[in-house]
């Protein structure tokens, strides 16, 4: 299958996985492997001044030859904090990629569209390839594209909710008008949600909790990978038109007794 291209980056899998909430690091690594993903998201946090010396650092676990690291600005509530986080990630040697999240409030974790737009504009000016997380809102998606986002990532449903694709109609409008890749991010609970997003024509899907909190994360990761590929193929194949009434697939003529 064709790799996904975002600005000057190419991804051999259209499934992006997170690195949070797994039962343990070994399970996470096996899940990534099983899913076929080639890009994983990470977060930035203050070094724990008391514990860092004993813990294995995430950077030591990730095979950088296999996985592109996409650092996020999760937990940022202002454009300024998101900018600082993105610059720190770049300083960590993670390159120009950033998954930009500017969250509006703790309870819904929904994105702040205006602040996301402002931060996108500034980060694009600084040379970042901005993957902008946003609502499933065609206007917000268009504005982020105009602000210089390399990819726009509308949510399927709120972060960590596992409710799937709540507004396929809006997603279809976003996809029809997009001039940059569109990745559905957040809300994916199970494999069919990935397939739905890809069948709608999404360029990729990013998810974390749907795999990490599955009872068997490795099997679920494989299911997500297969669904991503199945959905992509179905989109490329072009589905048959829907119709209200039945249409037989066996001939009406030549039936016995007629």
């Amino acid at each position: 299958m064709q790799p996904l291209r975002v600005r000057d980056f190419a991804f051999e899998s259209r499934l992006f996985l997170g690195s949070g909430r797994y039962p343990d690091p070994a399970t996470m690594l096996r899940a990534w492997e099983a899913s076929g993903t080639r890009c994983v998201t990470v977060a930035l946090r203050r070094v724990d001044l008391k514990r860092e010396r004993e813990e294995k650092n995430l950077l030591d676990l990730i095979d950088r030859k296999r996985y592109t690291i996409l650092p996020n600005t999760a937990g940022c509530f202002t454009a300024e904090d998101a900018l600082r986080t993105a610059r720190l990630a770049r300083e960590l040697g993670l390159g120009d990629l950033v998954k930009l999240e500017v969250i509006a409030d703790e309870e819904t974790l929904l994105p702040d569209a205006a602040a996301t737009c402002e931060a996108t504009r500034q980060l694009a000016r600084e040379g970042f390839a901005v993957f902008a997380y946003t609502n499933d809102d065609p206007v917000a998606a268009r504005k982020l594209e105009e602000a210089g986002a390399a990819a726009v990532m509308p949510l399927g449903a709120p972060i960590g909710s596992g409710m799937g694709i709540l507004n396929p109609t809006n997603l279809r409008i976003i996809l029809a008008r997009a001039r940059v890749p569109i990745l559905v991010d957040a809300g994916v609970g199970t494999a069919s949600d990935v397939a739905v997003a890809m069948e709608l024509g999404a360029d990729g899907v990013l998810l974390n909790t749907g795999v990490a909190l599955a009872q068997d994360p490795v099997s679920m990761a494989r299911a997500m990978g297969l669904a991503c590929e199945a959905g992509r193929l179905a989109w490329l194949a072009g589905r048959m038109p829907r119709r209200e009434f039945a249409a037989p697939s066996s001939p009406r003529e030549g039936r016995i007794g007629s």
Binding site: A43, R45, V47, L92
Partner: protein, 66 residues
Amino acid sequence: MRVRLNGEATEVERGTTVGMLVDRTVPDRARVAVERNGAIVPRAEYDRSPVVEGDDLEIVTLVGGG
């Protein structure tokens, strides 16, 4: 002298550099990034960046996230 390190008031000796502060905090410089008073301190400049009274320092690393 007093500085803030990752939000906590911290006592450091006069003459401390950013590099010394990083080395006593983490085992490997390559795993962290440093910000001082809102601006990035590039790794190459750690050892020639003195910490001064009242500095607000952040030392961050990667953790799991989505």
